[in-house]
């Protein structure tokens, strides 16, 4: 079965169709793929608590009237989530890490004593300092090494709703892996394939094939020199139209979109105010720019305001000269937390403080909003209010690379001054074609598949809500905002991190587990990425397995409370 066909299957569950009913009583599947008739906006987008969600469902009209969500709800909820962490779990998690680190040092100590030949690379040899210092590599060798089998699992074929893993075993405690030659198909809850466009067949792949026949494979130069083609220019225009800005610039790699473009926007004498959980590429870009960097607490607009007030009133350090520019850098959807940035409040601050706003929509574009246009669409704000809209094609569009969109002046400047446009290879033809084809489909401009884009968007929204809700009902501790296609589930203890991944693999489910340094040391988690190409059966299967694993690993921290809450509701 083609993966595209799977994506078009819509759940028939009355419960979710009811939830997806809009004011006019239009059913989800029959909406004409245009705008406006999106059911999911009605549900309060910011109230993560499932109880609140259910209570408010019947009175959806009321919720629709107040389209901007109450800002405090989210903060309160998060506080309670973290306070709800039983102190026993906190203590045991810290103790586990302590034990791991003590054992790591002990093993290193005795290893160096008895097998010095294995530690040659950590010593000064031949007058050369070791390439990787002892302490730096401790984490990699002794902690990451233990669970290396949970990462870099090679695959073959398409990372769609299901993925083919190359089976591998290790006979030397994960130092090396051997391939058994078997390939196993597993349910994929790991890839960023939100709209199910990771496909090797179907209309998009056909368009890519046609494009390669007409335009070749690569651009053979940089965008600013000889790499600009009609195809590239057309795709850039389409991206601009898609996100709702005047113009856009396409970059051939997602990481580079941030790392190589921020330096063209700010420099010495400027200030970057960055969310503490921003992606590594944003950090690299900020460092390369030479601007001062200040950090505010994750998604905390009050802290952002405090930082801004202090920075603007004090000016540059030492000289107290006023800042040339201030760029606030946030992400639309935080991929490790599943949280949306609080855009309306940020825009209110922007009006007051006159900074420029940079929103990284790597995960949100295509996946959020009734029309899939990202975080602005989700909140219903004008994308032109955001100065720099950055996004990637890797996730929702099943392609690669990224874009920067904004005013024409901004993009014209970047075409000549962005490091990526001037020095890096231009986007290759198949990727451009994939971006164009998938975007056209989402916008409903593909005449032969006019409804498919909207169906995929709706399917993703239904799947994400269903999955997160079922997990919470089981008593798991999940993070993230309702409707986020990224659903993190807290594991805490370092021993449960590989255990969860391995148990999942045993049951043919591919998941991503993350721990320090990608997350705070205490909140190791598994991250599920929901896709429109998952069917209800896929999700139910996964949920059953996860429930079993949850019992096995004692992860249902909320189990008791949920029963109490249910009893209360029944009263």
């Amino acid at each position: 079965m083609g993966k595209g066909q799977r994506a078009t299957q819509v759940f028939k569950s009355t419960e979710y169709i009811e939830q997806a009913r809009d004011e006019d009583g239009l059913l989800l599947g029959s909406s004409n793929g245009g705008n406006g008739s999106n059911p999911f906006k009605l549900a309060p987008s910011n109230s993560g608590s499932l109880l609140a969600l259910q209570e408010e469902e019947p009175s959806s009209k009321k919720a629709a009237a107040s389209s901007s969500p109450p800002p405090l709800l989210q903060e309160e909820r998060k506080k309670s989530e973290l306070e709800a962490v039983p102190s026993l779990i906190l203590v045991t998690t810290y103790l586990s890490f302590l034990m791991l680190i003590i054992f790591a040092h002990l093993r290193d100590f005795f290893g160096k004593l008895f097998y010095p030949e294995n530690y040659v690379q950590l010593r000064v040899q031949n007058g050369l300092a070791p390439m990787v210092s002892d302490f730096e590599s401790l984490w990699t060798r002794r902690l990451y090494g233990r669970i290396r089998d949970c990462f870099n699992r090679p695959i073959t074929g398409v990372a769609g709703g299901h993925v083919s893993l190359l089976d591998r075993v290790s006979h030397d405690f994960n130092a090396t892996f051997e391939f058994t030659g078997r390939v196993r198909s597993v349910l994929n809850l790991a890839s960023y394939n939100y709209l199910g466009f990771a496909q090797s067949e179907g209309p998009c792949a056909d368009k890519v094939e046609a494009a390669m026949a007409a335009h070749g494979l690569v651009a053979g130069s940089t965008r600013a020199e000889a790499g600009r083609s009609v195809l590239l220019a057309e795709t850039e225009d389409m991206v601009a139209r898609f996100v709702g800005s005047e113009a856009a610039l396409i970059v051939s790699m997602g990481y580079a979109t941030n790392a190589l473009n921020i330096p063209a926007l700010v420099g010495r004498g400027c200030l970057i105010v960055s969310d503490e959980l921003n992606h590594s590429s944003l950090v690299s870009g900020a460092r390369l720019s030479g601007a001062q960097i200040r950090v505010f607490r994750h998604n905390n607009t009050r802290d952002l305001e405090a930082v801004l007030r202090r920075s603007i009133s004090q000016g540059q350090p030492r000289t107290h000269r006023p800042w040339k520019k201030i760029l606030v850098v946030v992400e639309g959807l935080y991929s490790m937390e599943g949280e949306f940035c609080r855009l309306p409040e940020m825009l209110a601050l922007r009006r007051r403080y006159g900074f420029y706003l940079f929103v990284d929509e790597a995960h949100s574009v295509g996946a959020l909003g009734p029309r899939g246009r990202g975080i602005c669409d989700h909140y219903g704000v004008d994308p032109r209010e955001v100065d720099v809209l950055m996004g990637t094609f890797t996730k929702s569009f099943g392609a690669a690379g990224g874009y920067i969109a904004g005013s024409r002046a901004l993009v014209d400047h970047l075409r000549l001054h962005s490091h990526s446009a001037v020095y890096a290879e231009a986007m290759s033809v198949p990727v451009l074609a994939q971006v164009g084809a998938s975007m056209r489909m989402i916008m409903g401009e593909d005449r032969d598949h006019a409804l498919e884009g909207q169906q995929r968007l709706d399917q993703l929204a239904i799947n994400s809500r269903y999955f997160a809700r079922r997990l919470a009902e089981m008593g798991f501790m999940t993070l993230g905002d309702a409707g986020s296609p990224v659903v993190p589930l807290l594991l805490f203890s370092p021993a449960k991190i590989p255990a969860f991944s391995r148990e999942c693999l045993k049951r043919s489910v591919a998941v991503v587990v993350v721990s320090y340094p990608a997350t705070p040391i205490i909140t190791g988690r598994v991250r599920f990425c929901i896709s429109a190409s998952h069917t209800r059966e896929d999700l139910d299967y996964a949920l059953d397995q996860i429930s079993e694993i949850g019992d096995l690993l004692m992860l249902k921290f909320h189990a008791g409370k949920e029963i109490e809450a249910k009893a209360k509701r029944e009263d």
């Binding site: 390439m131 695959i155 394939n193 026949a213 130069s221």
Partner: protein, 522 residues
């Protein structure tokens, strides 16, 4: 009833507790008294025994108190205390600069006239503005003609039908394809190094590899003429950097000696930082080749490591096309970190780093561009594999004609009066610019040439050549960010797929263009 009886039952217990409480308090007081007296006696005795020690101890306590109070007045912090109202006023007054400056007239012109290719890139290209006329392409990095090789298209479609386009995840999270691993193995074997790791963009490869190993406190000695990605990578690493004169081994030796001299006195943890020589195989900005043999000798003599950017030289230099190490017959292991690109000669996209196994594995977690970005599309990985296979099976067919073409074009160009040619003879990449004398002659008023003036003349030259059917490009730079901005030039890339006639046509077109441009007084 029940509660009453319970209360009465508890009554004696409660009183007993309060008694006990009093007893505890008494006990606590005696303990306190006792310890106080002990301390007092200790101080008295110690003063009697050794008054100097008491003096020292008092000084120590005084120092601690002074030190703790000092912390409150942070010297680095010269913030002014402001009232909320004052802050509001300052916020109201603050006017930021526009996010981007306005384009200059010349920049606007450049954007408006930028080449827009209609159809595929290759030896012949059509411009959207060119009425369907095919131009000979000397602008794209198509050294080996891989860009317009029809065999690859078939393979690309096969790959598309198996792998789709995007990999939908970073390599760590189910983004590692079997074709990536095959390409990594293939690259390591082709270069002759121990292992290789793939990145999905050439620029970012360099930007990831150098900061992965060279950290704050480490030392980088770099060639002055290195390309922009190396400059950025060095900046991102925050290492201490020393520059040596372009390809000047005597100057490099001087710098290496200096660095080692500075380190001789050092003790403690940072006594021996990591030390790297950073240079390029085939220089992007000059078309020169690094003297690798000398570099290796110096590296051993002064205990440095080499980071070599072979982005352009990979697939271009050497008998087999394996790059600079192949060209000089140097063991590739002598180059500690060998960085290459697949987006130039190979005609795909992305880059790679060859190094020892440990160092490659380290990058899989610490190479930011590897760990935090999606892996390369399978189609491009297969295209790169195929290109390398084609090189392996028929190196002569690709290189001899490319080198012949390169040296022929250089010879022809050098004959053109008023034109300066830069680039090594083996290099299929060269820079041309007008000689300073010509420029002086061109200016009627004899005034000085600004960079924009020169750029404008070169842009005219490119346009003129286009009229004669030859597609060229100026070498573009982000002027304000380059450490040492190279002189403006037109960069010419020769391909093995060019015929002798093509080369002659190119030289002829440039000759005509130069004479037309220089005859115009301004």
């Amino acid at each position: 009833m029940a509660s009453q009886s319970a209360a009465s039952h508890l009554a004696p217990l409660l009183t007993a507790e309060s008694d006990e409480d009093g007893g505890q308090r008494g006990l606590f007081r005696t303990a306190w008294d006792f310890s106080f007296r002990m301390a007092l006696r200790y101080i008295k005795n110690s003063y009697k025994d050794d008054p100097f020690r008491t003096f020292l101890e008092v000084c120590l306590i005084g120092f601690i108190i002074w030190y703790m109070t000092k912390q409150k007045y942070n010297i680095g912090n010269n913030e002014i205390e402001l009232s909320e109202k004052e802050i509001d006023e300052l916020v109201d007054d603050w006017r930021p600069e526009p996010l981007v400056p306005e384009l200059t007239d010349f920049e606007r012109e450049t954007l408006d006239k930028a080449a827009l290719l209609d159809g595929p890139n290759g030896i012949k290209v059509r411009l959207a503005s060119g009425n369907g006329k095919a131009l000979l392409n000397f602008a794209s990095y198509n050294f080996l003609g891989f860009i317009d090789n029809p065999d690859f298209e078939k393979r690309a479609i096969e790959t598309l039908r198996k792998y789709g386009v995007g990999s939908c995840g970073p390599p760590g999270f189910y983004g590692t394809l079997d074709v990536h691993m095959e390409l990594e193995k293939h690259l390591a074997a082709f270069v002759g190094h121990s292992a290789a790791i793939l990145y999905s963009q050439a620029f970012t490869t360099i930007l990831s590899v150098i900061p992965c190993f060279s950290k704050r406190g480490d030392i980088i000695v770099a060639d002055e003429a290195v390309n922009f990605s190396l400059q950025q990578a060095i900046a991102l690493s925050r290492s201490k950097v020393y520059w040596y004169k372009h390809n000047d081994m005597a100057d490099l030796e001087r710098v290496l000696k200096d660095v080692n001299k500075q380190l001789t006195g050092r003790r403690g943890k940072n006594a021996l930082p990591r030390k790297f020589i950073v240079t390029e195989g085939l220089f992007h900005n000059t078309g020169d080749i690094s003297p690798l043999k000398d570099l290796v000798e110096l590296k051993h003599r002064y205990k440095f490591r080499i980071i070599l950017d072979e982005s352009l030289s990979f697939g271009v230099l050497g008998k087999r096309g394996a790059g600079l190490t192949d060209h000089f017959n140097v063991d590739p292991h002598e180059v500690d970190l060998l960085i290459g690109a697949l987006s130039y000669a190979i005609g795909a996209s992305g880059g790679f780093c060859c190094a020892d196994k440990d160092l490659v594995e380290h990058q899989r977690l610490s190479g930011l561009g590897y760990c935090f970005s999606a892996s390369m599309p399978g189609i491009l990985a297969v295209a790169a594999s195929d290109a390398i296979r084609a090189l392996e099976s028929n190196p002569e067919g690709h290189f001899s004609s490319m080198r012949e073409n390169a040296s022929l074009l250089q010879t022809l160009l050098r004959r053109i009066p008023g034109l300066q040619v830069e680039g090594a003879l083996e290099s299929p990449l060269m820079h041309i610019r007008l000689t300073p004398e010509t420029l002086v002659r061109m200016k009627r008023s004899g005034g000085a040439w600004t960079k924009t003036d020169i750029d404008r003349v070169l842009a005219e030259l490119v346009e003129e050549a286009q009229k004669d059917g030859v597609f060229l490009t100026r070498a573009m730079y982000v002027d304000e960010h380059e450490r040492l901005l190279p002189n403006s030039s037109i960069r010419i890339c020769v391909s093995c797929a060019h015929t002798r006639k093509d080369i002659e046509k190119c030289a002829h077109a440039i000759k005509n263009a130069v004479s037309r441009v220089t005859s115009k007084k301004r």
